[in-house]
Amino acid sequence: MSLMDSLAAGFSLVGNFEAFFMLFIGLVVGVVAGAIPGLSATMAVALTLPFTFSMTPINAILLLLGVYKGGIFGGSIPAILIKTPGTPASSATILDGHPMAERGEAGRALGMALYASCTADAVSNLALILFAGWLASFALNFGPPEFFALILFSLTIIAGVSGESLLRGALSALAGLLLATIGLDLVYGTNRFTFGDPNMMGGLNFIAVLIGLFAIPEIIAMAWNPVAHLGRTRALGKSRCSFADYAKSFKSIIRGSMIGVFLGSIPGIGAAPSAFLSYSEARRTSKNKANFGKGEIEGVAASEAGNNGVAGATLIPLLALGVPGDVITAIIIGAFMVHGLQPGPMMFVLNVDIIYGLFIGLIVSSVFLLVVGSVAIRGFKFVADGPKRILMPGVLVLCIYGVFAVNNNIFDVGVMFVMGWVGYIMMRNRIPAAPFLIAFILGPLLEDNFRQSMLMSGSDPSILFRGPITWFFWVLTAITVFAITRSTLRKRVPLS
């Protein structure tokens, strides 16, 4: 199929009011959820997922991608106005955004955050369109040993960089892998940890686990401290972001977007490190270096470009390899599966219309974000002042309905509650939840590819090192473990 044919097929799917409306609604939901401290973009995507069951796959995924992109931008609004990042990725935005708000320039900071976010989002989408197809055509050569090595590498890096500690991240990933073994064995069909309960024979429901891990702990945290969310909201002020401000920061925005694209395309790194790296690069190279941290608009631009540059790029490994780049794309992979689609290289062959439909939708999403973001900045006061102690019970009820709707099974609601407490205990013990969830998704794939490799080779483990692609991923895994261990050891021994 030629490029024009693929584009035409994509247009035939998304060239209707409903698809763009879903994308728009997704952005609105994402921006509002991202703007409410305590309701992260991850939680918003997870809670939106059950509403997509009755939709067509393309509308469902556009809605979720809208929530994702809106949520990442929305997080910058409370970061600037109340010094509380709506998402972890917005932490870097606080550094200069909040001092600007304290000076009465919140409107200017938010305007720059919006323009930088939209620019970075467009760059990231372009990277996705350019690289995903190329990577997928390369990945068509992968067999079970190559996929095993790739997934192992992805899990290593996710466990290593998504928390404060490699060991705690690895523990989290192992717990996710263990939970994924529940159910019938993939080859022999025998019971594994099912305790004779038929509900557990198909394994634990992915959506129950993810909503349990990412939404319920926030509700439990509110029971622990019902006033933790209270803060002081700054006014927008009179100054606005001008074209001169944008032009002055343009270099930092493009650099931040590139950093976001690069880090986003590596599974597991995510938006927060990208935002901080972009910020530190902007500070290093800026003429106004001394103003960084005191309310420099270029700092806001760099950190927002860094975190939004990730949004499209995390879809590169998702669409091309079937490996989620971060926890939100892990949820989106679940949405693909719910709708009978399996992301990965074969999707570029079998569902090229959906792939190109998504690309078209993503390009439009940058424009929609500009519109929704402009309104959201002005309306934030109403969102921020909404009573969180009424919102959280609403989230609980939504979780109950949403999780039940997946399989019409009350057992799944119980799984969600149990996973909620597990997630809360992990939160209190500073164990990151992202490796757990991603390992839970990738666990069956990892085991399946390992056992297929062993069946192919007659149980000869040397098949796992059979060619340059497997060597490449093994070397990357070794380098990752070495680098993370080295940095951990350096932290333990302070240099004098």
């Binding site: 059950p50 509403f51 069951f53 009755s54 500690s165 060991l167 705690r168 690895a170 523990l171 192992l174 263990l178 073994t181 064995d185 080859v187 022999y188 025998t190 019971n191 594994r192 940890f193 099912t194 305790f195 509700i219 439990i220 509110m222 029971a223 622990w224 401290n225 019902p226 006033v227 933790a228 009573p387 102690r389 009424i390 959280m392 019970p393 609403g394 609980l396 009820v397 939504l398 109950i400 309905y401 039940f404 709707a405 019409n408 009350i410 609601v413 119980g414 509650f417 909620g420 407490w421 013990n429 500073r430 164990i431 085991e447 390992f450 056992r451 062993m454 149980s459 333990r492 021994v493």
Partner: protein
């Protein structure tokens, strides 16, 4: 809490859990056909590998804790005690609400159980808007019922008492 004490605690839990898996859980709850000759292809192989890795991480956490030079608390540790003196009681009450939801769903139906759970949670969280909370407790479950039952076609549990259209 410091990283040292956290890793000590996690290391002990991970090591004990790995032992529990290897000595009891895997032999008891993972079934392998008797004709599987090669251990690598057995359904028990992967759980044993994961249990072994858990043990290694547990030992590494213990080593990390025991050899750590300093015992400095985490910078962002919660220092102020949460509102009121009963955070543990609120956690317990929320757990009870969750258990009651599980009992209520098949008996009262999802809508009525959700209404009660909403109201109970709002009061547990000490809302400053009790009237609004009660109104939301009625409206939100009804709206969700309307969407899931009539738009998404989900068979929402109706319970044994009052049935909705």
């Amino acid at each position: 809490m410091s990283q040292k004490s956290l890793h000590l605690r996690l290391g002990i839990v991970a090591s004990l859990f790995a032992l529990f898996l290897v000595l009891y859980a895997i032999p008891t709850f993972v079934f392998a056909p008797s004709n599987v000759g090669n251990i690598i292809l057995s359904p028990k192989f992967w759980p044993y590998v994961l249990a072994g890795l858990t043990a290694i991480i547990g030992v590494a956490l213990l080593f990390n804790a025991l050899t750590a030079a300093s015992d400095v608390p985490f910078e962002d540790e919660e220092t102020v005690h949460p509102e009121g003196s009963t955070p543990w009681m609120r956690l317990g009450a929320l757990a009870v609400i969750m258990v009651l939801v599980m009992f209520g769903l098949p008996r009262l139906g999802m809508v009525w159980t959700a209404m009660l759970a909403f109201a109970a949670c709002a009061f547990l969280f000490r809302t400053r808007h009790p009237i609004a909370a009660l109104v939301c407790a009625v409206i939100v479950p009804l709206l969700l019922y309307a969407f899931f039952a009539h738009v998404a076609g989900v068979a929402i549990p109706q319970g044994n008492f009052v049935r909705l259209p």
